[in-house]
Amino acid sequence: MEDDLPSKYEVIVIGTGMTESIVAAAASRIGKRVLHLDRNDYYGGMWASFTFEALQKWLDECRNGKTSDSLKSSSPLVQDGEKSVNIGNQFSTVFNIEEKWFIPEKLPSIGNLQSAKNTQTEDSPKEIKDGQTESEEILKQNDKLWCQAKIKTLGRKFNLDLAPKLLFSRGTLVELLISSNISRYAEFRCVNRILTWQSDKLETVPCSRADVFATKNVGLIEKRQLMQLLTLCVEYKPEGDEFKGFEDKTLKEYLESKNLTENLMHYVLYAIAMSNDTTPCMVGVERTQRFLSSLGRYGNTPFLWPMYGTGELPQCFCRLCAVFGGVYHLKRAADSVIVADTECKAILSDGSRLDCDHLVLGVADAPPEFLGSVPKAGLSRGIFILDRSISISDKESLTLLQFPIKGKEPITIIEAGPSTHVCPPGLYLLHMTTKQIENAVQDLKPAVEALLHTEYADGITSRIDTDTQSTQTTKEGDSVASKGDSNTQYGLLKPQILYALYFNCPETSGYDLSQNVPSNVHLCSGPDLEVDYEFAVKQAKSIFSKMYPDSEFLPRAPDPEELSLEVDEAAGPPFQSSEEPKEE
């Protein structure tokens, strides 16, 4: 192995998840020598985004277990008084993987399709024309039909997130990206639609002032009520009287005391406060405030979504870490941690001893004995490739939907389209996340059944023209598909699932990860249940301040544009003039 890797560092970070990457960047930024390793050949760990092919590879690894041939660490590298703790990973396990295609492997050949078409259309004027036009026509129609082979061919156009999340426009991550100047590595789109599920149908939640005025879903009196309520929440201060007496009650009880209509209750409780029936009142008010304060900074909803998917974000921090001298090595695992007394001294990796003052570890890479006997909790995840949006509108939408489940955590649904570079044109990507109760398939079932068409699509009939939203079908027998569909009357059909993936993964945000670790080892949780990055940023900040209490957390990185361009314009490099094209 090419090993000119230096052997002494101030900070070694193992795992390139979100929290680990933020810590790595922060340490490197203040001049610490940082080594950042990941045993995978990709960035992000459980926060990664994959092309379709990479996702398949990841699934294979999850199913078969990674080839972690943890060779017993050779003793010469472990000195007297030191103990070598093997790295194992009880938390890297992804389980209950269920993968399903809803489309055929290949589309019928053009010949077959032609005959199928001829039987259904009695007199197509195209038939008289030359065969060229005919087959072109069919090919064009073929564009709207999907098969597995086609998805795989376009596989590189997918960015499938393991941990889909949104950023509050005024949340800690956006503020951090701006203040640290890491924002230059990322681009975003605004979530432009917040939907809710009420009385068995999808509705758009009016969340901004402008939306409330414009919406047709609520009456005039309701509008007034909603504005008043939201203004109250925005202006809430702890010393005020408005919420007196509700400190021990739920948000729902407070809203009920306001005599809101059922409609408004639903909007506020589930969509704007992002709460459920049992959320304490003050927590709900705080969430409402957070929601409302992020409105209007970049768009009409509080949320941003990263272009190319959420897997970009850890990479942005890794880039900054590298710019300030951090050393990166992927496909490089740590085998064990060397501990003496109550301190970590070094790690062993690929037969080398790498010394460090601090060790930052993702939970997936932590030795079991560092984790103690933490109780298990998990996330239920679903990734769906769809042939259209769950709610078609005249332009492509980026959607958040908190799907309420009675008595449980809601299912968080994010839908993104091709303009965010997460899927090829003509398709949509739908992510579902909720707290694990049973397994992903069971936990997500209510939302899947309500929103998606789960029958197998034979690849010959296209149910509906995506572009025109017409309810015409290409084959009469296809009415089967729309028979049980209550949405047909709106001219909308549920999206067809082309591909579905379910899995469960651990959720460790609730645990105190500092209990069983040496004082200079810092563990980072994996993705948490919340829709935003507040938890990861907070954890990274707290780890950093434990390591370097007197240093600034990610001060602004200088802007190269400010530095070099000004100089250029003033003088212009001398050698340039000789070769520069003549001025007119």
Partner: protein
């Protein structure tokens, strides 16, 4: 934005450690040459204005920040690059051989299918291990531009960047895009003007 500037292009520098990517960059942008900056630290990207065929172009030239050392560039680095400069060292055969893997990595992560590639053989002031003909043959096989340079003596440096930019300008699909107003870049300056429309204060 400066109205005299036609467009801003993102150019990527790629290639094995030590082939002189940062030196090429410094020579081009600042006309300096520092043999001592062993490993790239602190260089993120550099901005440079260039005039090609009477068009003012702003270049954002991205350096690898040393992440190429263990072949660990982030896919994020390649996003939206319109041109890529693949550098090897003519006095180091291995750096030439491994261009194949850099080409394929570029193909994997590049988000623009028609990205313009240029192969640059650097350090022609030193004793050769790779002939000019080998370089040309490689470039032809991969349909890239080709030039040999010396960051130390300046030879070819400016021409390399100029050629690349010219070729990009001749491929309008790479840069003549309709500005997508819905793409958000977070920075202090661009909070929405119509904020009152949305918020409740």
């Amino acid at each position: 934005m400066d109205p005299s500037v036609l467009t801003t292009l993102k150019i990527l520098l790629i290639g094995q450690s030590g082939v002189g990517k940062s030196c090429l960059l410094c020579r081009f942008t600042d006309d300096t040459f520092n043999i001592d900056n062993a490993v790239t630290i602190g260089v993120d990207f550099k901005m440079k204005k260039i005039t090609v065929d009477n068009n003012n172009i702003k270049l954002a030239l991205w350096d690898t920040a040393g992440q190429e050392r263990f072949r660990t560039l982030t896919p994020n680095y390649y996003r939206d690059g319109q041109g890529a400069i693949l550098v090897y060292d003519v006095s180091n055969r291995e750096s030439f051989t491994c261009l194949e893997t850099w080409i394929s990595e570029l193909k994997t992560y590049s988000t623009k299918t028609d990205i313009i590639k240029m192969v640059v053989g650097n350090k022609i002031d030193q004793e050769r291990q790779v002939t000019r003909d080998e370089g040309i043959a490689f470039a032809r096989r991969h349909q890239t531009l080709f030039i040999e340079t010396s960051a130390k003596t300046k030879e070819g440096v400016y021409m390399a960047f100029e050629e690349l930019v010219r070729k990009i300008l001749n491929t309008p699909s790479l840069w003549e895009k309709v500005e997508d107003a819905n793409v958000v870049r977070c920075n202090d300056g661009n909070s929405s003007i119509s904020e009152q429309k949305y918020c409740y204060c």
